[in-house]
Amino acid sequence: MSTGQMMLTTGAIILLGMTVLTVNGMYGNHGTILRQTEIGIYATSLGTSMIEEASGMNFDEKTVNDAIYATSSLTSSGSLGAESGETTTPDSAINFDDFDDYNNRVFGMKVAGVDTFTIRTYVYYVTNSSPYLQQTSTPTWLKKLDLKISSFAMTDTVKMSYIFSYFNFR
């Protein structure tokens, strides 16, 4: 084999090797993306479960036993959070009885075979008039729950929100 043919052969092998590496890398990326999507769905389901749990609570500590008819009777913005005796270590919603108990809480949830997820929750009042759904320090009939779900296995944080309004059954 002449030098030229040898060089052509070497070049062809190098090209093929680069192609193989590129294709392998591409499929590796696909697998990573799919796994990240799967973990994201796990995170979403945890967030959904927490939102469902919170939406089953009373609107405010003041509405646990009685109906109220004026926003001035609601808990002030600076006092939103779990009341004395409702917190546990580590954080758990087991003693919560109203929606804003989820304010400034950090929950750890382990999904077997996946990872431990951290859920940070914040609750605040939002406006029910223009500009709508903006955070406000004045008590209104609307509270917003923000969740941020993250884990070491995730490259990004899943953020979810839920608006809860005060209602009373007739």
Partner: protein
């Protein structure tokens, strides 16, 4: 033909063979990755589609556009079993949120969900998957084949305590938890057809609360 020519020919056979093996291996790996990733993608789509359906309907347990027809929402759950549930709701007659039928027709409907045995679904190589059945009122039973292998309910009372089976009084149900697992219908390696680890599994568990069950 000199020895150098023979060496060249032998060398070219070796190099060519290596190149062909590399190309064939690349092709096989591409096919395997496509099958596995495609299956995983379909699995995730099936899971999200299933959960969308369940969340949409379970959230409206005890709801009726004509609220007077659901006198006691606590009786909205008629059957509460491990793999079966029947509840009352008002099924929308339109998917358009701007259409009044989106909020139901004012008549109480019942929806039943249950899973069939694994032996019933024979059209897929996966021996663990099952049909999910849905029935509205006493109408036609709908079969859903989404690779479902687990569909279990857990029920909790107002104190968040689990209700043991059998649940004789469904009025105690305040909160429910559904655990769903789906698997790919076909494993990539057919010889592991009896080994469940050969199938891609996706599991999800969500808690569902219906506001109407709080009306008690």
């Amino acid at each position: 033909m000199g020895s150098s020519s023979l060496m060249d020919i032998v060398g070219s056979f070796i190099v060519g063979g290596a190149l062909i093996v590399m190309a064939l291996r690349l092709n096989a790996q591409a096919a395997e990755s496509t099958a596995i990733h495609g299956g995983s993608y379909i699995l995730q789509r099936n899971m999200t589609a299933l959960i969308d359906i369940l969340e949409f309907e379970f959230r409206k347990i005890g709801y009726c556009k004509d609220w007077k027809k659901v006198a006691d929402p606590t009786k909205s759950i008629r059957v509460a079993e491990l793999n079966r549930i029947r509840f009352l709701t008002d099924i929308p007659t339109s998917t358009n949120p701007n259409n009044v039928g989106f909020y139901g027709d004012g008549n109480v409907d019942s929806i039943t969900y249950w899973v069939g045995p694994a032996s019933e679904l024979t059209s897929t190589p996966n021996p663990f998957d099952k049909y999910l059945y849905r029935q509205v009122n006493n109408g036609t039973t709908e079969k859903l084949n989404l690779g479902l292998t687990q569909f279990q309910f857990s029920y909790f009372d107002a104190m968040n305590d689990p209700l043991p089976f059998p649940i004789t009084d469904a009025r105690k149900v305040y909160l429910m938890q559904v655990s769903v697992a789906v698997q790919t219908a076909m494993p990539y390696k057919q010889e592991y057809v009896k080994d469940s680890s050969a199938y891609d599994v996706f599991w999800k568990q969500i808690r569902l609360v219906t506001k109407n069950l709080k009306n008690r």
